[in-house]
């Protein structure tokens, strides 16, 4: 039962990403070509409201339903991992036209060839795990 709320959030997330067309390869291509405002509007408005509400949560010391302060774990310091990892991710994002969330959602829309992309993403993650200590972070 405690998982039901997460299932519902996931369903809502899947619906929103399909209806926004953010799961579309074409929309990602269009975004990287700077030919429409659509994706920038989606990400920009999400971040704008995110900044505002996370700030409000902290300012008014809103507690989570687990009774703890809202406290997002800060990301580790560093530059190399973010710029290098981010760039590698960007190559894949623009080629597949899907980042990890949309990959799962697109399976639900009936694109079963996406399983190949997901399997390859798992292999990529596994490879990172093997090489982690040898890479600059």
């Amino acid at each position: 039962m405690k998982f039901l709320k997460f299932l519902l959030v996931g369903i809502f997330f899947g619906i929103v990403l399909v209806k926004s067309e953010a799961v579309s390869w074409y929309r990602i291509y269009e975004m990287f070509k700077f030919q429409a405002f659509h994706m920038y509007g989606i990400i920009g408005s999400a971040v704008f409201l995110g900044v505002l509400f996370i700030w409000l949560f902290k300012k008014y010391k809103i507690k989570s339903i687990e009774g703890k302060d809202i406290d997002l774990v800060p990301k580790d310091k560093g530059v190399a991992r973010y710029i290098l990892g981010g760039t590698i991710f960007g190559f894949g994002w623009a080629l597949a036209g899907a980042c990890p969330g949309p990959m799962y959602i697109l399976v639900g829309t009936g694109v079963f060839s996406m399983f190949i992309v997901i399997a390859a993403a798992l292999l990529g993650t596994f490879t990172y795990g093997l090489l982690q200590k040898k890479l600059p972070h």
């Binding site: 074409y26 291509y29 973010y82």
Partner: protein, 187 residues
């Protein structure tokens, strides 16, 4: 009802994505889809090969549940909440893609030139999907997050590392879109 069945504009979708992130934060969790890749590797026994996969994956079951829901959401949205309208892409995008050899641009969510079985089951087709997936999986874990974890949650929490990661996403995405896609698909 028509408004639900039509594609949703950015000023509806963006705030709803923020809502997903805020609900998960309110539930005491965080919005990060790519951690599930690490969790799935861990469940598959990858902990035998690297410390990176040695953690209590059961604590991440909530996030796998979000993934399961997302798959269901994708199904519900396409089966029951869509009127089948084509994606209203900009005319330049359609023209550029036609030039790259893509036809029927925007009629489905994904281009058949990449995702139809006919194309997937060719050497080039499968290579494209495998390489793309590998780069996403490797890159996102190296960067410690993807679009949800860095671009939405990290930026909302004013994290400099997330800004650097998002700049990286665009460096890679722009190089791929402007220079590599034409080499792969242009003839």
């Amino acid at each position: 009802m028509d408004y639900i069945l039509q594609p949703w504009p950015w000023y509806v979708s963006g705030p709803l994505i923020a809502l997903v992130m805020l609900i998960l934060v309110f539930f005491g969790k965080t919005f990060g889809m790519s951690s599930n890749l690490q969790t799935l590797c861990s469940i598959g026994g990858a902990g035998k090969y690297s410390d990176y996969f040695r953690f209590d994956w059961k604590a991440q079951r909530w996030n796998l549940t979000v993934v399961l829901g997302a798959i269901l959401g994708g199904f519900i949205a396409t089966q029951y909440l869509s009127d089948g309208s084509a994606i209203a892409l900009s005319a330049e995008t359609v023209a550029d893609l036609n030039e790259l050899g893509f036809s029927e641009v925007g009629e489905t969510l994904l281009p058949p030139e990449i995702y139809s079985w006919e194309n997937v089951l060719s050497l080039k087709g499968i290579a494209v999907l495998v390489i793309a997936g590998f780069l996403v999986g490797f890159g996102t874990r190296y960067a410690g997050g993807c679009t949800s974890g860095h671009a939405i949650t990290g930026l909302s929490n004013l994290q400099l590392p997330s800004l650097i990661a998002v700049i990286g996403f665009f460096v890679g995405g722009l190089i791929m879109t402007f220079f590599i896609l034409p080499l792969i698909f242009g003839s």
